[in-house]
Amino acid sequence: MALETSLHSWHSTHGARMVDFGGWDMPVQYTTIVDEHVSVRNDSGIFDIGHMGRLRIHGPDSTNFLQLTCSNNSANLRAGQVRYNLVCNEKGNILDDILVYQHADDFILVVNASNRLKIVSWLESNIKSLNVKIEDQTLSTSMIAVQGPKSINLAKQLISNDISKLGYYFSFDSKTMDIPSLVSRTGYTGEDGIEIILPRGEEIKVWEKLVSLGCKPCGLGARDTLRLEAGMPLYGHEIDESTNPLEAGLGWAVKFDKGEFIGKEALLKEKNTQSARIRVGVELSGKRIPRELYPITKNGTVVGKVTSGTFSPTFNKSIAMAYVPATLSAIGTELDVDIRGKSEPCKVVPLPFYKRKTT
């Protein structure tokens, strides 16, 4: 039985097509993916991201515990700061990519829906003698994202603290329409915006208010094309238990100098020998979409594979992320994608494909 957010019936009654995603019945689109995508790039969009896992980590050893179980540094987070982090296994492969919020006297972890139960039990198995508690708050809370260049101006009318002064990747406890909430300047679209965690059920009135102010409801389809343009990995595609952070281009989230952590030894070895394959962005000259698992070839020989691809509404061309040998990963390298038996030329381009202009 698929899980549902409390916005589920709103989605169904507003024309959303629903799909199973990470064990949740979620909206994939209301109008069209391109229409919703363009709204977020030019204006503002609102996403139900209640499926994301929300874990509270508390207790005196919380910082040490996160240092041990995650590759990035959580010891030097400032009050309210949010940081991208990775949970790796002993082999240095990725169990999940997460956000860690420094929050009052505890930490909030936002984990992928499909990995929530796995991560909860993995974290619990690593508590050992540490004095730390893990509280899975996913089913008692909700989460929405408001994204796009106009999102801050729209959302700030509803929030008691001034979100326009909130730094990128910072958060604060605030009231959203008088509802206690945790607001962060974060997102998964490549645009400015916020994500709000609220008590379950309370997000409906915030959602409806934001929609009435002009925020366009967007589904997971647009969320996928937006994050792809922004070069962000999606668990289960660019990263999984057979990939490590270094080959995935996430070495910046691995801090070898912070002390011991699970996977450090394996990742040090990988760092010293250099990764054999690397995640790259590719751009096609044709309009066909290179989809997940399509082979990347060079002179007719398979050298890699696509992890996700789409037709980029922003650039009006087909783009993809792929793993290719390090020797074929230089910007400008010409390769081919095998699209259902037809070879289509592509070339390696810098990631991200899309970077917003910051003022």
Partner: protein, 159 residues
């Protein structure tokens, strides 16, 4: 999640299907006549005039695809084999084969659609036609559904 399968059909489009009757078009009159079309299980429509079968995709199918970005068409002169793929339609969400409803030879391809694939979404039963097939032998259309049967199928798929 990158590629949604086309089989994840969601919403049923309501109401009836609007079809242009070419004979009436000549007189400048547009008529809805869904009964004159035949349908495949894979959402192609077929309009038969003499031994020429015009093929397109139904509104139901293109509404589910949305954001069509590419249509791979056969060449004029290519053989068409009933039930075999003669082309592909690609949207941001999914890619899907297009199947020939009848046996024959491709005698015309809608080139305007190749240049502007999104046009199929605007007028799937009119300007969005895909190809014309010259049917070989004595046309047998028994395997194709009539409008009522097709409506029944899409009603069951939309749950």
């Amino acid at each position: 999640m990158a590629a949604f399968a086309i089989t994840e059909f969601g919403k049923l489009l309501g109401g009836c299907l609007f079809i242009l009757d070419r004979s009436k078009m000549l007189q400048g009159v547009f008529t809805m006549d869904p009964l004159k079309l035949r349908y495949t299980k894979t959402h192609e429509w077929a309009a038969i005039e003499g031994n020429i079968c015009t093929v397109g995709l139904t509104k139901f199918a293109v509404d589910l695809l949305t954001d069509v970005i590419y249509i791979d068409m056969p060449d004029v002169g290519d053989p068409a084999l009933k039930g075999d793929s003669f082309g592909e339609i690609e949207s941001v969400k999914a890619v899907s084969d297009i199947y020939a409803p009848v046996d024959g030879e491709i005698v015309e391809v809608n080139d305007k659609l190749v240049q502007d694939p999104a046009a199929i979404s605007k007028d799937p039963f009119g300007k969005g036609w895909l190809v014309k097939i010259k049917m070989s032998g004595k046309p047998n259309l028994d395997h194709l559904m009539n409008h009522a049967a097709y409506e029944k199928q899409i009603a069951s798929e939309s749950h």
